[in-house]
């Protein structure tokens, strides 16, 4: 019996080996190397590297450009998380209700999510530029009243709108799945008690959807904090850093300025922020869950 068990364990280990090997090589090892690099003065791929303690972290936290990228990311995350959630919920309720052509509409809403963010970015630069100009000419909007969508004041809001357009369909699908898992009996019971459609949405469906809302919010916040492609394609972080997110800042520091050590310190800060947000959200969710009980 002991021998059989040993042979079994060996087989399971062999099954786990390929996944563990690629995972360690391309995730675990680079992760710990990043932490080590963040404590050094690594520059490009120069070989001599010196340990400098937490200097990179101190520099990042006092650096104006990095702090501005943090603030830009927070604003962007807030804008996109709230708007995408609202839009996705609204679309999910519309498609869950008595609407015709559901499949067609669902496909249209999800369509942008299938597109590469880079190419979506190009299309929207065109929309905010040439298309808007043509439209403004058509309705005779005076030059003074025209909005410079990708100018310093509006650029962040504009790229956030693009992101919402791109991702809302994805979160809508998750909401639809959540709505479909609510049992018909509950809704029927509420209807018999005299509840209208709006009452059912507010007092039955929304509360039952709370875990899904929590999950979508978590997914949105963590993905927004990592956002890179859209600002890269649309504005390259400009004008004057107005759309330089943390991810873009890390990229520029590491690959444009070649300050590898400093860039990895920034990236570890991003990691810690994401951990903190996730932990805080889970803590909040658990507290709420307990309060409800």
């Amino acid at each position: 019996m002991q021998k059989v068990k040993l042979r079994q364990s060996a087989a399971y280990l062999a099954f786990l080996l390929p996944a563990t090997a690629v995972f360690v090589a391309f995730f675990v090892f680079p992760f710990f190397k990043s932490i080590w690099l963040s404590l050094t003065d690594a520059y490009g791929y120069r070989q001599d590297i010196n340990f400098i303690g937490l200097k990179n972290y101190a520099e990042a936290l006092s650096n104006k450009a990095f702090r501005s990228s943090l603030w830009v990311t927070v604003k962007y995350t807030a804008l996109v998380t709230v708007s995408a959630n609202v839009v996705a919920l609204l679309l999910a309720f519309l498609l869950d209700g008595s609407t015709r052509f559901k499949k067609l509409f669902r496909t249209i809403f999800f369509l942008p999510n299938l597109m590469s963010l880079i190419i979506v970015g190009f299309v929207w630069v065109f929309l905010y530029g040439g298309v808007y100009r043509s439209f403004a000419d058509l309705i005779g909007l005076p030059e003074a009243l025209r909005v410079s969508w990708l100018g310093p004041d509006m650029a962040l809001i504009s790229i956030a709108a693009t992101a919402v357009w791109q991702c809302a369909g994805y979160y809508m699908l998750i909401y639809i799945a959540g709505l479909q898992s609510i049992s018909d009996e509950v809704i029927e019971a509420a209807r018999i008690d005299g509840a209208g459609t709006w009452d059912i949405i507010r007092h039955v469906k929304l509360p039952l959807l709370a875990p899904v809302i929590f999950m979508n919010t978590l997914l949105l916040i963590t993905s927004c904090f990592k956002t890179f492609d859209i600002p890269m394609a649309m504005t390259s972080g400009g004008p004057a850093g107005a759309t330089t997110t943390i991810a873009l800042q890390i990229y520029n520091t590491g690959f444009r300025a070649n300050r590898t050590g400093y860039a990895t310190a920034q990236s570890v800060i991003l990691f810690l922020i994401i951990c903190a947000i996730t932990a805080a959200l889970y803590f909040f969710q658990n507290r709420r869950g307990e309060a409800a009980e």
Partner: protein, 276 residues
């Protein structure tokens, strides 16, 4: 009768509202498609007018100048190769984690799980230097291997969850009949995993097909569709007729894929989100 009437009116109202939203969502795509049939001069005159004489010239230029066929092939190789490799690697691991009752399987599960908190940018720089020292940069297969390492955790959990929900009796019966664990896995378990493997394949396709940064760092040449579009954009800056044609050409394959696989994509997203 009355409620039936009001219900029908409710349906008309929600359908109209939904159609309005659909129009807003679809308008950008429509504008892009229309402009892809115009000349640059026409776009400069008006970007919202219909084309005077629709032309396919833009498509010809894009397909030739960005060498679209080879970028398309590159994207197919990377996505397809990664999916096959990932399915093999993660179904083996997911099965082992579900069935192996040992401290080690719990430890490994935790290690895999913790990776979900780490953003790509945190490992990006060190990963590139690892890839360079292993000689993986510049090769499609190198990119496939790296993707497999980075994208195997969610598939492993999905498969582990699926295996746990399947009764063990079938495997035990097979083992009593003299199957080894390996035989048991390939002959008994793998065929049962089909639905979850389809989900995993679709999720991977969606993650990888449109990814930009990792291929850009590893390949450093326009070998996939997003990369070739980025290069093309830089080269033909402000020639919106060409860029819009590029948008249509590069989006069409994935839209066709979606329309064929719709059911799997939708259930995959729901499943992936629950685990992710």
């Amino acid at each position: 009768m009355n409620t039936k009437h009001s219900r029908r009116r409710g349906e008309a109202v929600t359908t109209t509202v939904t159609a309005l939203f659909a129009l807003i969502f679809f308008l950008p795509v429509l504008i892009a498609v229309i402009n892809s049939f115009k000349t640059n001069g026409e776009i400069l005159a008006s970007a919202i007018a219909l084309p005077g004489a629709p032309t396919l010239e833009n498509y010809k230029t894009v397909i030739e100048a960005s060498d679209f066929p080879s970028a398309f092939l590159g994207s197919c190789i990377v996505t397809g190769g990664e999916i096959v490799l990932n399915l093999v690697v993660s179904s083996l691991a997911g099965y082992a984690l579900a069935r192996w009752k040992s401290v080690w399987s719990h430890v490994l599960t935790l290690v895999f799980l913790s990776s979900m908190f780490v953003p790509f940018h945190t490992i990006m720089i060190a990963l590139l230097s690892t890839a360079k020292s292993l000689g993986l940069t510049g090769h499609l297969w190198g990119l496939i291997l790296i993707y497999c390492g980075l994208q195997c955790t969610i598939p492993i959990f999905l498969i582990k969850g699926f295996v746990s929900s399947v009764p063990k009796e079938l495997e035990e019966a097979a083992m009593i009949d003299g199957c080894s664990i390996a035989q048991c896995f390939f002959l008994v378990v793998l065929p049962m995993l089909k639905p979850i493997l389809a989900t995993v394949a679709v999720l991977n396709a969606l993650w990888i097909w449109n990814d930009y940064l990792l291929p850009y760092l590893i390949l450093a040449k326009p070998a996939t569709i997003p990369l070739s579009q980025m290069y093309f954009y830089g080269q033909y800056n402000q020639q919106w007729n060409l860029i819009m044609a590029g948008f249509v050409v590069s989006t069409l394959p994935v839209v066709i894929f979606f329309l064929c696989m719709q059911k799997h994509v939708i259930s995959g997203i729901a499943a992936g989100a629950v685990k992710g």
